[in-house]
Symmetry: C2
Subunit: 433 residues, 2 copies
């Protein structure tokens, strides 16, 4: 056994307190697995009085001083947000400390700067807990599939929105009602916009795409759409065609007409068939599909959030980073050699579900079909619902580009028989095109 | 870029030829990810004439000489079986070569010797492809969950038997018929006993248990039962209670009445509820559940066999091992510090489904219930099927030890009203006890 490795913990909330508990309860096992004991050097918090369960001599409000201490080997960051964390982690890495972080926003916003600092200092920067909580996902992408060619990653990576959509599906509730329920259950934050508006899922998509495609992907590269506009009517419409609605993070490698490889990364609500394995992922669970050339389809499923599950991922990284320090080595660093260009959302092709409130008169279908045909958008199914004032035309397209679908919908809105384009939603997981 | 890393490939069958193809097709990507190109030093085969697609100068029948070559850095073993592979891999490790293997039989039979040799030479021994083909499973257990406490691993890890049982379930076919079908489809070997008799699943269970519990587990520690005795009647009986039959590998950490932790490892057919996610894993797919204290339940799903999927896992290991050689380090080695004792199957508790052919007369249920009660086995449900000569009593127990169930069944067989103990099968995945 070598000397104890000292850990600076930044943040002591739901996840941090579980990390402290597990460090204590599993101390002997962790030491045996690492070859050295782990020891808390300090815990940086904003209000020490609220953390009476941590020995007082470990608590500090000065995170910068804690990170700068010479005896600290590893910094575990569970604070979240961009500033001041970015500066703290940069100075930790620059002074030769390894970093374990669960901060998806920072990694998606400026992972490149952190990775560069880690590479220069020859230390580790691990962040398994930043995506899909307890589910081992980043390590499999970075290491297990390092000899394969990943074509697609698609998954449910935000538990709060999945809970809301699951409730809307199960009870027929509208978005506001389901959000209120999630808030009451403690699943939604007081300000739910990071989840509901898709920022959280988009940040995770950026991280996943970076690993899958060996390309730096930032938040500005990700197309994002939240679930705030998903209505009870959309959910009913999805049900009518054997689907449900999920907020999906989707990372794809696509070859364009000129044979150029590009990467498309997006996070938005989409209808998926009920028979698709992602459709039955309920409540606060996460699940991610990975399609690789040789491996085929893989699925990873588990708890995407919560104190203990997230702490499990943090501790897995902590053991890996600590083992590396004991053996004087470094794990796999950033791999961004490919630097594939990003495909704009306008060029991304998916299927669409389009519902139009129409006049109940002859020629409506012919007129609508003509509008789609003019933009080269091919229709897979058409269904007319209701009669008279309640007549609705529901169309599902084959794969079409976002841009041509946009133009089609604009043209449709101007047609005399269309009263309103009631809903436009992407459809995923149907296979084929 | 450093000099090329040279690879000795042992075996060039279904998996080996895919490894050669991917090494060639992905050469640039692999070099970029590793920081050095990979180069085939040679391919050892038994009959060179059958491998015309490999450049002749690379082919050799002398595996020992290939492994001994000074310029070889990494040995990839895809031959299978215990001898002569054990000796080849030992001498590779002893001479400082890293080893990537897909050989579950050897790892389960004598992994300890190989791990010791790898540790002494400070080189890597990786074998992700040995269990569940393309599914990243061993690395998550060894690394991602290294900070957690795994309590249970349960999964479908043999595609051939899963195909046979899926066919029996779907068509009502008997075992022999379904086996013949699997053989015709090329899914079952000419000698199917390694799969059908559960040896393959047992070897994988041993490997999984070793990683999950930081304990050396060998083949002799694993309780094993094949699927050859599963009848169409068993399958119908499973269906009648909302279940199907799967061959499961199960690794558990259990605390006995004296508070002593022990490990129970088994591979046998079992009924599981159709609502259980493993029930819908069809054909040649694999899926594994992992239950950890902090992480909760995780599931991993994908292709468990086949040339390309298995080659994906081999190449993932190859990249990891090669990266380590480039950086002069070594990945996580064997972790067997816990050395928990193995629990004998007699003490392992599970639920049981017991079907008895009985005389259709009063007092049968009372008599049978008495036999269970005498052994302390508690009954959850009882169902009587048929009348007259076709009367069958079907009982499902609460959790009971294998030993007390055995005695119960022996006693029942001697009772005057029992014509035959038609079937006894374990029931898993029902939750509770």
């Amino acid at each position: 056994m070598t000397d104890a490795l000292k850990i600076a913990l930044l943040g002591h909330g739901v996840v941090g307190s579980q990390v402290v508990r597990l460090l204590d309860e599993q101390a002997d096992d962790l030491a045996a697995r690492i070859g050295a004991p782990l020891e808390l050097a300090g815990v940086a918090v904003r209000r020490p009085a609220r953390h009476a369960d941590v020995p007082a001599h470990l608590l500090t409000t000065d995170a910068a001083e804690l990170v700068a201490r010479d005896d600290v080997d590893i910094v575990v960051e569970l604070v979240g947000g961009i500033e001041p964390v970015r500066g703290l982690l940069l100075s930790a890495l620059e002074s030769g400390k390894s970093v374990v972080s669960a901060n998806k926003a920072l990694l998606a916003d400026d992972g490149a700067t952190l990775h560069d600092a880690a590479a220069r200092a020859r230390v580790d920067l691990y962040y398994e807990a930043a995506v899909a909580g307890a589910i081992p996902l980043l390590r499999p992408l970075r290491e297990s599939l390092a000899g394969d060619r990943i074509n697609r990653v698609m998954g449910i990576v935000n538990g709060t929105t999945n809970l809301i959509l699951s409730r809307m599906d199960a009870t027929g509730a509208g978005f506001d009602e389901a959000l209120a329920e999630a808030t009451a259950l403690g699943y939604a934050e007081a300000d739910p916009s990071a989840d509901v508006d898709g920022y959280d899922a988009a940040a995770k998509a950026a991280i996943l795409a970076g690993l899958a495609f060996h390309t730096r992907v930032g938040m500005s590269d990700v197309f994002r759409e939240g679930i705030g506009d998903v209505t009870a009517a959309d959910m009913a419409s999805a049900r009518a065609m054997g689907c449900t609605v999920k907020l999906l993070a989707i990372c794809e490698r696509r070859v364009d007409d000129n044979g150029v490889e590009r990467v498309a990364v997006r996070a938005h609500p989409a209808m998926i068939p009920r028979s698709h394995p992602l459709a039955s992922v309920g409540d606060a669970f996460n699940a991610v599909f990975v399609e690789a050339e040789a491996a085929g389809s893989l699925m990873f499923y588990g708890r995407g959030a919560g104190g203990a599950p997230t702490a499990s991922a943090v501790l897995g990284d902590l053991v890996a980073v600590a083992r590396n320090r004991v053996s004087g080595s470094r794990g796999a660093g950033e791999s961004a050699y490919a630097q594939l260009p990003i495909q704009g959302m306008g060029e991304v092709t998916t299927r669409y579900h389009v519902a139009l409130d129409v006049n109940d008169e002859p020629g409506v279908l012919a007129g609508a079909a003509q509008a789609f045909a003019e933009q080269g958008v091919s229709i897979q199914t058409v269904r007319q619902e209701g009669r008279g004032d309640a007549a609705t035309l529901v169309l599902v397209t084959h794969g079409a580009s976002d841009a041509s679908l946009d133009v089609t919908v604009q043209k449709l809105a101007q047609m005399p028989f269309v009263r309103r384009a009631a809903s436009v939603m992407r459809v995923e997981g149907m296979g084929g095109d």
